[in-house]
């Protein structure tokens, strides 16, 4: 039967054996009736869930919510605190002060020195940890024997806790009882320079930063090692074979095959180690407590001092907001690196 507009649609009515109408809809079930709104709603919700429109939100929701809860809310709270007076020991604690804390920070020369310290120490730690980890990855990729054992050994620094590692390094570098100092004096400084007496490292302005960097790089290098080893193992071997057939030397193979493949992963681990050592002050608090004078004082430690020792939540929060601002710029670079990497795949 044709179904033209305006024409009544005729449907052949199914008839049962006795001639009665067989209902098309089983009795008892309703379609969109107001009397059964709940069933209707349930059907709508289930439809949407099954059609997977809500699935992304349902799956990604819990992790995002966790992060918002643990990081997002404290961040907002920090912003609020940084705009108020915030000195818990004073009656003016909840008073609005606007950007006063930020101005104080910007005009304080000591805080500028602390910021510079942060940059140099974090940069040095990142640089050395990447150098050490990179070297280890290259070496362990070449070695044929004892691979598993060596890998576990190189990864050992990661297993120790930060404060424990810092304390061990502190003892190793002790002027009188330190193993490293005594070895350096006995085997290096005395024969070469006639050095006598005890070598002071953590308590001298010139070398305190180096000790912090050494301990920090020691701790971070396993992470770099593991990432770069993974990167090295994914370079197709055929490229090396082809290059060898074409007569490329070891150095040329390294420069033209290995390094380009590792560009992105090197960038990412450098950024990550920089950010992590920028934010982490556990080594400094154990080894130098800010250093002789203020020479190893870093920003997160300063924030810690403001908040925990001085109860000055306002200025502490303002300083950490500035840190966050700086790190956000770093994060932008990081995200751009990731984007470029995923666009180009992992190839050149």
């Amino acid at each position: 039967m044709a179904n033209r507009r305006g024409e009544a649609k005729t449907v052949s009515v199914p008839l049962g054996p006795k001639g009665e109408r067989i209902p098309l809809i089983p009795s008892g079930e309703k379609t969109f009736q107001h009397e059964n709104m709940i069933a209707h709603l349930a059907r709508v919700v289930l439809y949407h869930l099954r059609s997977e429109k809500l699935l992304p939100y349902a799956l990604a929701g819990p992790p995002v919510l966790m992060v918002l809860f643990v990081i997002g809310y404290p961040l907002v709270s920090n912003v609020w605190l940084s705009l108020h007076h915030g000195h818990l020991a004073s009656p003016r604690a909840n008073e609005w002060v606007g950007l006063e804390h930020y101005l104080t920070i910007a005009q304080d020369p000591q805080l500028r020195a602390v910021a510079l310290n942060s940059l140099t120490l974090a940069g040095g730690t990142a640089l050395f940890s990447v150098l050490i980890g990179f070297t280890w990855a290259i070496v362990l990729n070449q070695i044929k024997h004892f691979k598993a054992g060596l890998q576990v050994l190189v990864l050992t620094p990661w297993v120790l806790s930060g404060v424990i590692a810092a304390r061990l390094w502190l003892w190793l570098l002790d002027p009188i009882l330190g193993l490293v100092n005594s070895w350096l004096v006995r085997f290096l400084l005395h024969p070469l320079f006639g050095f006598e007496g005890n070598l002071e490292l953590t308590t001298r302005v010139q070398t305190a930063g180096l000790t912090v960097i050494t301990a920090g790089a020691w701790r971070m290098s396993p992470f770099v090692f593991v990432m770069i080893l993974a990167g090295l193992q994914s370079i197709p071997q055929e490229l090396y074979e082809a290059a060898m057939v074409d007569g490329a030397s070891g150095y040329q193979r390294f420069r033209h095959i290995t390094l380009p493949f590792l560009r992105f992963i090197l960038g990412i681990v450098t950024l990550l180690t920089f950010v992590w050592s920028f934010n982490d002050f556990s080594i400094i608090i154990v080894m130098t407590k800010g250093g002789p004078g203020y020479s190893t004082m870093v920003l997160p430690f300063r924030v810690y001092r403001f908040i925990i020792d001085g109860f000055r939540l306002g200025i502490g929060s303002a300083l950490s907001m500035l840190m966050v601002l700086f790190l956000s710029l770093v994060a932008v670079a990081y995200v751009r690196l990731l984007r470029r990497q995923s666009e180009e795949g992992s190839l050149l």
């Binding site: 992304p56 799956l59 990604a60 297993v159 424990i164 193993l179 990412i268 956000s328």
Partner: protein, 283 residues
């Protein structure tokens, strides 16, 4: 002299050079650990000998026994294991769900959320202490292991999501599509097809989280007050006094505390590296 002999000599020299550099590097890497081992096998008087030596003058296991006089080391290790495993399970599960969503499903805020998640890795812990403290107190989770697990989960999810995102991207989408065509729902496909393939990546991520939580100090020391609930990292500070430190006992306790993560690490080592090979590249 024939070229062959010169060549062999040079090869031998290269071998010796490589292995001595390796030895030097290993010394640097292992020095604190060897020193800690050496300290843990000494009596208290031998710790402060001048000039300092790497090998203990008298080998003894006394400190492993007397460390229990200072701190309930095994109780703390048990607590830490509980918190670490709880945080690892929760963080890896949630991150896997999130990473799967970002890697496969297309939805409106995907890009923005990814960026947000990545940037949240960058915030200094020191500035988040007070608000978290207040939140935990308000929720009644202060001084509980559950509260600590929640905090650690929140902090590690961004990094885990990033790692697992890279890993999921390397699993070909055709496998899932095949499962979907055969009638699986998305969730079913995720559970039965993707997860078994993703085990190396998940193992790698779990190891990261476990190590991070096991070695964490700041939150563990600030958010747990009850001595019986303490974790091992703040627990090790009980060996350090203002005037005198039980160095040998602390070294013994530190070595004991390092064994569980080391064992866990050795068990999953192979999966760890292969999980990173895929995950680290695509970012």
């Amino acid at each position: 002299m024939s070229i062959a002999i010169i060549y062999k000599v040079l090869k031998g020299l290269k071998f010796i050079f490589l292995y001595s550099v390796l030895l030097a590097g290993l010394t640097f890497v292992l020095l604190p650990v060897l020193y800690a081992l050496s300290l843990s096998f000494r009596t208290n008087e031998d710790v402060m000998k001048v000039p300092p030596q790497l090998l203990p003058p008298r080998f003894t296991l006394v400190s492993y026994v007397s460390m229990l006089d200072f701190a309930q080391v095994f109780l703390y290790i048990r607590n830490t294991t509980f918190v670490a495993m709880g945080a690892t399970a929760l963080a890896v599960t949630l991150a896997a769900l999130g990473a799967y969503t970002f890697a496969r499903l297309r939805f409106r805020f995907a890009n923005e959320l990814m960026v947000l998640l990545l940037m949240s890795q960058m915030f200094p812990g020191a500035s988040l202490i007070v608000p978290l403290f207040k939140t935990l107190k308000n929720l009644g989770l202060y001084d509980t292991h559950a509260g600590l697990i929640l905090v650690y989960t929140g902090f590690t999810i961004p990094f885990c999501t990033w790692m697992l995102y890279g890993y999921f991207k390397t699993i070909p989408a055709e496998l899932e599509d095949a499962a979907l065509i055969d009638g699986c729902s998305r969730l079913h496909a995720l559970a039965k097809v993707i997860m078994p393939l993703a085990l190396p990546g998940i193992a790698a991520t779990a190891v990261f989280v476990m190590l991070a939580v096991w070695n964490e100090f700041t939150f563990a020391s600030l958010f747990i007050q009850n001595n019986d609930k303490w974790l091992i990292t703040p627990g090790l500070t009980t060996f350090i006094g203002q005037y005198w430190s039980a160095v040998n006992c602390m070294a013994a306790a530190a070595i004991t505390a390092s064994i569980p993560p080391l064992v866990a690490f050795i068990l999953v080592r192979r999966y760890f590296i292969s999980g990173l090979v895929a995950g680290a590249l695509k970012g």
